[in-house]
Subunit: 139 residues, 2 copies
């Protein structure tokens, strides 16, 4: 598409940015999936700046809706996500990030944020705490 333009080392992702349908808040949901075993790790949001930074740096950056700032995943905890592959759905309104997760994804110290399952009408924790959150966040 941009064959006549000068290529950067990390090309500007115009082809992707054109496809993404950001919502009326300027956000798009991004699902992070472990690229090795397919585990769904978390879902968060990106704005255009977060997506651009992620593609430029190769390290996943979300938009924190609660703080209203870019959220460089792992900046405090060291539990960063390296982007291995990025996919977009048929409607262009959801992203799937295939990532290499350093350590654990969840602030509770679990591998995935989806650690609670409905079993027999009750909620069960199905993943162990692998890291002490106090070690991750200096609490």
């Amino acid at each position: 598409m941009s064959t006549s333009k000068t290529r950067e080392t990390h090309p500007a992702p115009e082809a992707l940015l054109k496809l993404v349908k950001f919502d009326d808040r300027g956000l798009v949901p991004a699902i992070a999936q472990d690229h090795r075993n397919g585990d769904v790790l978390m879902m968060a949001w990106m704005n255009r700046a977060a997506l651009s930074e992620t593609l430029r740096s190769g390290q996943v950056c979300y938009w924190s809706r609660s703080r209203g700032t870019l959220w460089r995943k792992g900046e405090t905890s060291g539990q960063v996500q390296h982007l291995k592959d990025l996919r977009i759905d048929c409607d262009g309104d959801t992203l799937l990030l295939r990532v290499a997760q350093t350590g654990v994804t969840c602030h509770t110290g679990r591998r995935s944020c989806f650690y609670r399952a409905l079993r027999g009408g009750e909620i069960e924790d199905i993943l162990p705490v692998e890291r002490d959150p106090r070690d991750l966040y200096g609490g």
Copy 2:
């Protein structure tokens, strides 16, 4: 939690409904994942009624934001999703549905809606069309 109440065959998912944080539109994002191989198939939205129906029937029902109605996945196409397991994330604001997908998920006839990947700065289709959409929707 509801041990003193009469148990239904499919117990009312009070334990789950209490945890879910619906957004200001009354919706929660739901990620559908193939329970056999971990493929992420789609992301859509549920309101309380869609979630309740899904749990009651065992067949996934979303909320269509464009049509403003319950969206019984596969009602037209026959490509239904049977719920095998339901998980909720640490914040309670995203659901992960582990499903058995009949046929294909995507209205384009592909196995997953995430069939476009960013490769070398360009977008590539990485999944084949397995079903003719005209067969699925009688077009």
